[in-house]
Each structure stands twice: as structure tokens, then as C-alpha cells.
Symmetry: none
Subunit: 254 residues, 2 copies
């Protein structure tokens, strides 16, 4: 049985959308399928204003949250699913096909988590940096000769798929999932706090040269999402590293 998939635990996140018509189309698809939490990351201001003030724009568009970074957009989420095609990249996280998305989404919601479904800009989609905030990459199964979907249509298809499982249970493998054992998954913002602490510890220990800092930060972000610590694990990890860092930066006099 698929655990209940509650729409209000799902955020739709648009990263730097350009075309006001596409923004409107995403909002309309959300309204069609009963989703109403939209976050827009660093939109191009004139187009964003235009989209919001369009005739017939759904209320959820006027109430959309606007933030500066993807990190901020997904800080409260325990499952961040990026959308895109794999044509031009080598994925660094788990890839699933859209028809399989409902299961991890409802698992996360059942574990009292929030889920973000992230769409990239029209031209090039999510960047490698954006994807490093994602636990999963969701692929819509499209024809390799024309794999790239229009933003509004991609959102419609994804939300249709999730909505189909919102109230209707599906047969799945029985038995408790690892999630049930380890407790609530950690919110993205907490993972970022862990990453920052580890980075500071690395520097304090002289482990990582400054020239490698960006690459290491990227890898670390992915590593933490692969490991998927529970909230409780994360609190321990934070406590541990705070102590280690303090000791490294303020060693007691002997």
C-alpha cells in the first residue's frame, strides 16, 4: 500500500523561469491538479510581475513564495526531486522514471516530511549545482529524438502523475521501509548546516586545500543526500562536528 500522498506537503519549485506564459501554465496545471504551494527562485523580475498580474492568473500564483536561492527554497524539505532529462549529463544521484515517483514522495510524506518538485529554467534545465540539492532526479519518459519538454507541459504531466496517487493506493512491496526504522528524514537546510560545519572542520584540520573548496562542497552536498541521515542522526552529527571544530580552532592549553 502506498502511504497517503497529501498534496499540501508538496512544493512546486521553479528555478529562474523566464517566460511569463510558462509560469502561468505551471500555475494553471497546479490549480488543475489541486496543488497550491509554489516557490519561485530568483525569477527575472519584469517577467515575474507580468506572470503574476496576468488576467486569470490563479490565486496560488499571486501567493507564490519568492526566494533568492534553491537552497532557501528547499530548506524545509526532506525529499527534493529535480526534473529533467539525462541527455547531456551524467547523473550524480538516483534517477527514477516519473511513473515511479509517487512511492518515494508518499514515503517521505508518511515520515512527516515535505517534498519539493523542482523545475529548471526553460533553456537549459537544472544545473549541476542545482541538482546537488536533489535527492532524486525524475525523468519523464520521452522520445530520445525530442526529449526536452516545455516547462508548463512537464509540470502538468508530473502533477497529473502525483495527483493520480493522491488518494488512490497502489500495491507495493510489503514490509517496513528503512525510513520507518530511521525516523524522519533530515530537512535540506539541516543537511546544508552539516555540510558547512564539515567544510569548516576540513579547513581547520588543513584537510582540504582552498582551491578544491567548490568541488568538495558540491561532492559533500551530494554525499549527505545519498546517505540520507534521519533528523536524530543529523542532530548527533551536528553536535559531534561542533565539538570537533571547537577543539580544532580553540585547542586547550596543555
Amino acid at each position: 500500500m502506498l502511504p497517503p500522498l497529501q498534496r499540501d506537503q508538496i512544493d512546486v519549485v521553479l528555478v529562474s523561469p523566464r517566460n511569463p506564459l510558462n509560469i502561468g501554465a505551471v500555475a494553471r496545471a497546479m490549480a488543475n491538479f489541486g496543488f497550491d504551494r509554489l516557490t519561485v527562485v530568483a525569477p527575472y523580475a519584469p517577467h515575474w510581475r507580468e506572470a503574476k498580474s496576468a488576467v486569470g492568473a490563479p490565486g496560488l500564483l499571486k501567493n507564490a513564495r519568492q526566494v533568492a536561492t534553491l537552497a532557501e527554497a528547499v530548506a524545509a524539505c526532506t525529499l527534493v526531486a529535480g526534473t529533467g532529462t539525462l541527455t547531456h549529463r551524467k547523473p550524480e544521484q538516483r534517477v527514477i522514471q516519473l511513473p515511479e515517483l509517487a512511492l518515494p514522495v508518499s514515503d517521505s510524506i508518511a515520515a512527516a516530511g515535505r517534498v519539493a518538485l523542482v523545475f529548471g529554467p526553460e533553456k537549459h534545465g537544472l544545473t549541476r549545482e542545482d541538482l546537488s540539492f536533489c535527492h532524486l532526479l525524475v525523468e519523464i519518459p520521452t522520445d530520445a529524438r525530442q526529449p526536452s519538454m516545455n516547462l508548463g507541459q512537464a509540470a502538468a504531466v508530473c502533477l497529473y502523475e502525483l495527483a493520480a496517487h493522491a488518494s488512490q493506493p497502489l500495491p507495493t512491496t510489503p514490509g517496513p521501509s528503512p525510513k520507518t526504522i530511521s525516523g524522519t528524514q533530515t530537512a535540506s537546510g539541516t543537511l546544508d548546516r552539516i555540510a558547512t560545519l564539515i567544510e569548516e572542520t576540513s579547513l581547520a584540520a588543513g584537510y582540504s586545500p582552498r582551491t578544491m573548496q567548490d568541488a568538495n562542497r558540491h561532492d559533500l552536498r551530494l554525499l549527505l543526500r545519498r546517505l540520507g541521515p534521519s533528523e536524530r542522526d543529523s542532530r548527533r552529527i551536528l553536535g559531534f562536528f561542533r565539538r570537533v571544530l571547537r577543539q580544532l580552532t580553540h585547542p586547550p592549553t596543555r
Copy 2:
């Protein structure tokens, strides 16, 4: 088992589409999901020309068939499925929800028939007269407060649903399996080496009192197994903690 659903036995039919962008969006969704037979009924000529000549218009749009009436468009079809919502009308034929569409479609194709999926004009959808040519009315399950979908998005969702049941899988770029991404799981002995190092680091940082050592060792062992790092992750973790421990136990003279 569903009988085979061959895409080339399915015609997409647009009745009097107005907006060239919508026509282009339908064509794009068709290309995304591997359908290539488009018929347009009585289009508004200037908009139809504009849609066909748009930059990046898929070949299937340029090759679309243009006819004067819906009767002509579906003359060769054995199953005609009209799309729409029931908000303002009393259906005169069988109504099915989109997730159930694949079965009658593949049944018809198995019986050597052709299928038409018909979309009405943007403003009001298919008329009662149009619907009289339809065997079925397909409803996309949408929110009653915002039931009406954008034409391009409705087509994308319908074709996604049919493509999911097509006999011929789409040519897609296969992604690596999760194993390839995260690598071989770590052997238990390596996890124990990590645990020992973390324990020594804890002690060196004064994080954990000696009286708690056994309980902490136990928790740490479980934590590492829950996280399940790959071999590659584990090598990084080991290297990192070796460095931190060294720095804690042999701080450089300042």
C-alpha cells in the same frame, strides 16, 4: 495484460485550434511522447500558417493533415475519444477517466482499428455536435474548482498516459543504475575502521565521556550501517577523519 498499443495507429485531432502557441505545444508533446499523426480540423488560416512556420516546429506539424470537418478527420477510425470536462454538459456517451483510456485504445488497435484522440477549441472545448462523433468522452481528473486545462497541457497529459502503455518503448537514454552512481557498498570491516576513527576523534575532542563509550560505539555502528556509504564515500570519510584526528592529537605549534 493490455493488448499492444501502437502509437502509429493513433491520430491526434485538433478541432479549430486558435492559438498558434497551443498548436505548437500539442505538436511538441506529440514529439516528446513519440506520436506523429496530427490532423487539424478547420483551423483559422493565419494562425495555422504561423504555427507551421514557427522556428523549431516539429516535422510532424509540417506534415499534419488539414481537413474541413471532424467527420472527415475521424472517418477511418474505429474508436473516437473526445476530451473535455463535464462541468457544463450532460454526456451522451460513455465517460471514462484518463487513467482508464489505455484499455479501450489498445483493444481497438488489437482489433485492427484506428483511434482518434480529439481536442476541442481552447475557449469552449468540443461542442455537442463534435461529441456526437465520439464513442467515448475522456475526462482528465482535475480539481472541480479549476477543471479546464490548457490545450497543450491537456494533450501532454493524455499522450503521457497513452505512451506509458505503448507496446513500443520509446528510444530513451538509459541512465546508470543507482549502484553505478553510489558505487559498491562498504564492507563491514571498513565501517568498523571508520567507527574506531570517529571514536578516537570524539575522545580527542573531548566530545564523549569515557563512561558513555560502549553505548556510543553501539549507536555509531548502527548509524554507519543505516547511512550505508559506498566504498568510495568510505575512503573519503576515512581520509577526512585521519586528518582531523592527527590535527587534534598533534596540533601544530603556533
